[in-house]
Symmetry: C2
Subunit: 404 residues, 2 copies
């Protein structure tokens, strides 16, 4: 059985690292606060008797022996956050993994299959794109050298140098798990709205991140007739609105977000010479997602042409939709039902480390409700009883898979 | 007669202060490079025998005695630039003023009326809004204490503190000139296109700078259905495009520029919580300008409402259109014609220090052509012969007004 007090204490402890004045946390990947979170996590893992490994992209995992040798059943998630993150996005999955280990230690249970708890580097993709970088490299979906060379989205740092700087550039070799399970907050409104306690996640929608850079000509805001301008900012604004129109036109579940929008030289009375924006497109249907991408690209080209600007496109992340393993989804559903928790099968709107494991081993996820559907927001909240219920389902499914 | 070598040397000398690697200059108001430019200017003024004064907003002017006491005929402009400025915007008017003094010194001429050469603080409004701040305070159109308390557009500094820091917080009392003349590059395409050498400026169009700040709700880009979002960035993009549609709809001379557009937290996968943008609207007709402002405001309110966001509006600058003195415009035209220079009457698209003097004393401006109409761009260029021709017309009109 899960100890709710221990789990909630850990959530609070980790939540103090990078805590923001108004609530929430900022532990952007490979910053000093991320390092502090990692140091704290490694100490907890060692205190629980886990054997800690760190690989060349900074992933951390702790192993617990089973009755037999071999690949472990892995529980994982991440402890990095966005700049305005909450206490649970990522942290819950890692801390619930610790709690599963602690509960088994306490009960003196050794599982048949070994167990592992993992925290993957830069799941958020907030400071360095793409997201799910650590788990992507761990499972070979992303190229390690390419990722180490990644420049921060704001141009301020190189991934590999930051990893060295915080002292988490390890040398251990990733192990492909026997199965992978991830507990996570839903980060959306569905469970709360429907009054359901647990989500049995069926898969993750496709994710497409594109950066557009537009180059026009800076000029005087007062003297340059509209017809003679090459205004990079207007092109960017048209692309941003096109993304939203495409989402409206395709309808749910298509979503579109322009999170970054920058002008240069960024002065009131200067026609912008350069603009940079990012577009995040997602859909559970890969064909519709490709359609959205193609329409966005043609809108972007049209806008650039109309204003005599040049357009450069860079893909920051592109993940196809992923389906989880039916037999593991079934077990999540069964475990929740056995605990008298209402449960619903649902796709994930957010990307998760689990999606990197799905092609290689039986994988699924457990969702718990998010208050008001808020996430990537300092007011992200999940009720304590839901955090505990999710951890309990995780423990039950882990015992089921690993043989307890 | 103007010495072209001396004038061009001065242009080159001042152009080295804050020179950018790719060409052009950056002497944003009250930065260290602005201070270096000021120090250089004061040294030149003293070398020419001018009595230098500095007032409480940092304006610098140098006085040359006349045969009688009293208010001087003033030649002025500014030496601050935008971040990606050229060598001539502002500098030309000040340096041509020095050249007029040097030429008179050389010829041993003392004018009847005293003369003055002035460089006004923060004409560009690039780092601190509004523009024409120094001349506005000098002539009482802007409140000195309010301007000293102005925060930089990027939030990084306070005007009065920066003025103290660079050592140009003087105590001298401004003098209202007997007449005011400003030589400036056109910064637009008209003179070059029409093959005309000199512009006799009839006035300045109205200028309206507005900052909009939009507050929505940050949320997850993958999990938040479009219908549940409060995306501050989309509201900002709609305002930006509305500004452009209003300009297209009203037609020339209405112009609209969105120079600043910022999102927060500015992450790829976070729906923006906050957005800030500036809109620069201009028109020679104040009624049309008011119409543009009203339409923009209602489009902004509609967009905010449609996305459940709050909207805050702040006026950064608002200047009515200004007409220059017919008798001074006539003299500019006559002086150019006498020198066999083609001349055209034209309004100014850019704001200028001259507009602050127009209500109080006979005022006009002299324009010279801008290559490709470029300004607020490092490739801003005016041919040497046009710089010299403009300075010659300035000298001729000054002698005409001051009695030589
Ligand atoms: N779970 C989560 O927020 N992941 C970040 C990656 C994304 O979905 O944008
Ligand atoms: N001349 C000039 O560029 N002035 C700056 C003020 C403005 O027109 O925006």
């Amino acid at each position: 059985e899960i100890s709710s007090a221990r789990l909630l204490d850990w959530v609070a402890d980790l939540g103090r690292i990078g805590a923001l004045p108004g609530g929430g946390v900022c532990r952007l990947a490979l910053t000093d606060t991320d390092r502090a979170g990692r140091d704290w996590l490694v100490a907890q893992m060692e205190a629980l008797g886990l054997t800690v490994s760190i690989d060349a992209i900074g992933n951390i995992w702790g192993l617990r022996k089973g009755l037999v040798e071999g690949a472990p059943v892995m529980m994982g998630s991440h402890i990095d956050t966005v700049a305005t993150g909450g206490l649970y996005d990522g942290a819950l999955g890692v801390l619930a993994g610790l709690e599963v280990i602690a509960a088994l230690n306490e009960a003196g249970i050794t599982t048949h299959t070994p167990l592992a708890v993992a925290a993957f580097t830069n799941e958020e993709g907030a400071r360095f794109a793409p997201d799910m970088m650590g788990s992507g490299v761990y499972m070979g979906a992303l190229d390690r050298e390419e990722m180490l060379a990644t420049v921060a989205t704001d141009g301020s740092a190189v991934f590999g140098e930051e990893l060295d700087r915080i002292g988490y550039h390890g040398g251990d070799t990733p192990v492909t798990p026997a199965a992978y399970l991830e507990l996570h907050i839903e980060q959306g409104p569905v469970l709360e709205r429907e009054g359901v306690r647990v989500g049995a996640v069926t898969g993750v929608q496709g994710i497409s991140w594109t950066e557009y850079t537009i180059k026009g000509q800076s000029n005087h805001a007062g003297t340059t007739p509209m017809a003679l301008r090459h205004d990079a900012g207007v092109v960017a604004a048209k692309i941003a609105l096109a993304a939203h129109e495409i989402a409206a036109d395709l309808g749910p579940p298509q979503v579109a977000t322009v999170g970054v929008f920058e002008l240069s030289p960024a002065l009131v009375n200067v026609v912008p010479e350069k603009a940079r924006l990012t577009v995040d497109l997602r859909n559970t249907d890969n064909e519709l997602l490709k359609q959205a991408e193609a329409r966005l690209q043609s809108a972007a080209e049209d806008a650039a042409t109309a204003h005599g600007c040049t357009l450069a496109r860079r893909s920051l992340a592109r993940f196809d939709p992923v389906a989880f393993a039916p037999q593991v989804i079934d077990r999540v559903e069964a475990a929740a039902t056995a605990r008298q928790l209402s449960v619903k099968r649902m796709p994930s709107g957010a990307g998760h480390d689990a999606q990197m494991f799905a092609p290689a081993c039986p994988t699924a996820m457990i969702f718990v409700p998010s208050k008001d559907g808020l996430s990537h927001n300092i007011n992200e909240h999940t009720e304590a009883q839901d955090l505990v219920a999710g951890a309990q389902v995780l423990l039950d499914v882990v015992l089921d898979l690993a043989g307890g």
